[in-house]
């Protein structure tokens, strides 16, 4: 990606209008293909042409929209509730009924997860009868 950068940018020393055009084509190319373009590179280009202030802001907006899609698939918030359901059910399985009742009162997700049907399936008849309340 970097060599094409240089090729596009170098022939335009001080033409803000043309620069903005190449910017838009560049971002278009990026979204179509490679997503791992380092944003610092575009910032240094902005530093080389200081009079093209508007273009820098346009470019930054483009960078933002580009950096968001790769961020979403990565499970950034490592919150315990974002664990996959099979692990949550393992935890549920080791809890007492009293704890499950209280857990169900905390939020919608846990209430849906620890539904009576689910608990029945999870615990099976043997434990349902031997479970102390």
């Amino acid at each position: 990606m970097a060599p094409t950068h240089g090729m596009v940018e170098r022939p335009l020393p001080a033409n803000p209008a043309r620069l903005s055009v190449t910017q838009s084509t560049r971002t278009g190319l990026d979204t179509a293909g490679d997503t791992t373009v380092p944003s610092p590179a575009s910032n240094t280009i902005g530093g080389i042409t200081p009079h093209a202030g508007i273009d820098v802001s346009v470019k930054l907006a483009g960078d933002d929209s580009r950096s968001q899609p790769p961020a979403s698939p990565k499970p950034c918030p490592r919150h315990l509730l974002t664990l996959p359901p099979e692990i949550l059910l393992m935890i549920l399985q080791a809890l007492d009924f009293a704890d499950i009742v209280r857990l169900r009162e905390t939020c919608m997700q846990l209430r849906a997860l620890a539904s009576p049907q689910q608990v029945r399936v999870l615990f099976g008849p043997d434990r349902l009868h031997s479970q102390p309340l």
């Binding site: 490592r78 315990l80 664990l83 692990i87 393992m90 935890i91 939020c107 434990r127 102390p132 309340l133």
Partner: protein
């Protein structure tokens, strides 16, 4: 000296720098999938560094190295064929308690530990991690659980009223406890 035949190589594939970790044959026995891999590919070049096994989930290198360190340190042979003991309360041995106190200090780390041990099938450690979460939840009120897990109440007032009514028996102090 030929290539050391007693080490597996594991690569943290989703991490940007992708560190490669060395796992001894003995430590690999703790993981059901690594054990199965060793059994299935015994005659094949599984033990070369180029043949590293990728970890395809998002975990930090720190967590992976902690778990592998645990596997190296834990010498007790994993019991084979022991299943259906989910109902049993997991007892944490002293060294495992130490592991949890040292390595698993935040809920993010606990999250990664659960994901990784589930992925690798390290059953004893997985059960212990579940037990740690259970201990966190056990005996707490709904509000305490919410605060601990950092979740917000997302019920509408009507829903909350319905839930209250549904579980009113749980808070009825007049009723004598069932004797079993």
């Amino acid at each position: 000296m030929a290539a050391q035949p007693d080490f597996l190589w594991i690569k943290n594939d989703m991490s940007p720098d992708g560190r490669v970790f060395r796992v001894s044959r003995q430590a690999a026995q703790h993981s059901t999938i690594l054990r199965a891999l060793i059994e299935d590919f015994e005659g094949i070049d599984l033990w070369k560094k180029e043949q590293c096994i990728p970890i395809k989930i998002h975990v930090s290198d720190q967590c992976l190295s902690d778990v592998l360190q645990w596997a190296e340190n834990t010498k007790t042979a994993p019991e084979k064929g022991e299943n259906a003991d989910n109902n049993k309360q997991v007892e944490l041995a002293a060294e495992d308690m130490h592991f949890f106190r040292e390595a698993i200090t935040t809920s993010e780390k606990l999250y990664e530990l659960l994901m990784l041990t589930d992925y690798l099938g390290i059953v004893p450690l997985y059960n212990m991690a579940c037990q740690v979460v259970v201990n966190m939840i056990m005996g707490k009120s709904a509000e305490q659980i919410r605060r601990m897990l950092g979740i917000s109440k997302d019920f509408t007032p009507e829903q909350e009223e319905a839930i209250r009514a549904e579980t009113a028996w749980a808070y009825d102090e007049e009723q004598p406890p069932l004797d079993r």
